[in-house]
Amino acid sequence: MSKVHVTTTVNGDAVEFLADPRETLLDCLRDHVGLTGTKEGCGTGDCGACSVEMEGVLVCSCLVLGVEANGKRVDTIEGMSDGHDLHPLQRKFIEHAALQCGFCTPGFLVAAKALLARSPDPTEEEVRYWLAGNLCRCTGYDKIVRAVMDAAAEMRQEAA
């Protein structure tokens, strides 16, 4: 099986790897690039744990082949904080206890960040619909939704 040379930009850094064309972007990020923050939940696009942005579009990295990322910009959870300074969404997830086991959290954070980039002042309904493709079996979602709303308010510099 001949491998394909893939050149991408991940979180702003130029990254190269050799991918079997059957490998997903998720596999490539975790196994070739060493970025294990992106999680595999279902592997079939149902749970959103593997959410990343490709060219600024929110996708399930389990439903993208690594070779399809050639020449593309990919942003993962590892690019979310500014060094040790957590992103407001990350801080609010901690403050609101919007996680227990934490496995779904990277996917929720990446998806929520994509939402707030296009809709800085979302309604609760909008948040719930946008995040419908992210499954969490611990929290019951309420704390996650509150954390996203609160982070949005902070990012708009309003008190929530």
Binding site: R22, V59, C60, V67
Partner: protein, 288 residues
């Protein structure tokens, strides 16, 4: 598995025609990758169509309709205001497919070629009279989208043939379309019944109509009797009642945990009425 990135549809069709084993075309990949992972489909040749010029574009046609590239994801359809203004039913059907993440990749053509009887975007395309532009090893042809589905998981495309674009006709004046589906929750589910209605009005009176059902037969079904029930009427209660009866009568659904035959048949009529009302309001320029 060989991964191909042709730069023209003729080249893509040539690769598919010459391939000996299992071949799949790759657009958004939200069905193909799931099938690969499940081991249901293990392609020997995977032909990625996204390097072909124009596949990510939505272009107006000289006739006043739209040409939609095969790799345009749902999120791009939804963001295209002029397309949504012309064909809101087509766009809202596609937008019901999967999650935000799926919308970032999934395409109309993929939804069509996956061959699910419950595909949410297909009834709207059929009701709109959309055409599929096909490129094959021996040239091209253009066929109604309605002629593509052949049964669950099957299409009428021949070996080596690939859909190279979808064509929506000009909207024209006083037209409106709508798509509704029933699912037991609010998001992230497969249609138990889907119904698209496309119509044109003269004042309040319906002059043209097309009623198309999904998830109630092995393929999407057009229901001419349902269309006839509302043509020449102002969608009064009698006409809507006849429409619902005709829609229900056209159902040949499966019976499963997601919906019994009786339930799907009943709901088809209800959705037909509701979708017709929305399409009618849109045709008259009302917000609906």
């Amino acid at each position: 598995m060989r991964y191909h990135t042709p730069t023209t549809f003729a080249e893509a069709a040539g690769i598919a025609a010459a391939a000996q084993g299992v071949t799949r075309f790759l657009a958004g990949g939200t069905d193909v990758l799931v099938q690969m992972r499940a081991g249901m489909v293990l392609p020997d040749d995977l032909i990625d169509l996204k390097k072909i010029d124009g596949v990510d574009r939505i272009d107006p046609t000289p006739e006043g309709g739209w040409r939609i590239g095969v790799a345009v994801p749902g999120i791009a359809l939804g963001a295209h205001e002029a397309l949504r203004a012309d064909w809101p039913g087509v766009v809202e059907g596609m937008e019901l497919v999967g999650s935000t993440q799926i919308q970032g990749r999934a395409t109309l053509v993929g939804n069509l070629c996956n061959g699910s009887p419950a595909a949410d975007s297909v009834p709207g395309l059929v009701a709109a009279g959309a055409m599929a532009e096909i490129t094959g090893p021996d040239g091209g042809r253009v066929v109604p989208v309605a002629d593509i589905p052949a049964g669950p998981g099957r299409t009428t495309l021949q070996p080596g043939e690939v859909i190279s674009a979808l064509l929506l006709p000009p909207r024209g004046t006083a037209g409106g379309d709508a798509y509704l589906r029933f699912i037991p929750r609010t998001e992230m589910d497969i249609a138990v019944v889907g119904c698209a209605v496309n119509l044109r009005c003269d004042g309040d009176t319906v002059t043209e109509a097309s009623v198309v059902l999904g998830a109630v037969a092995p393929t999407v079904v057009s229901v001419p009797a349902a269309s006839a029930a509302i043509i020449g009427t102002a969608l009064d209660d009698t006409a809507l009642g006849t429409l619902a009866e005709a829609a229900s009568a056209a159902c040949r659904p499966i019976d499963d945990k997601r919906g019994t035959i009786a339930f799907r048949t009943e709901v088809a009529g209800v959705l037909a009425k509701r979708a017709a009302r929305i399409a009618h309001a849109r045709a008259k320029g009302e917000n609906a």
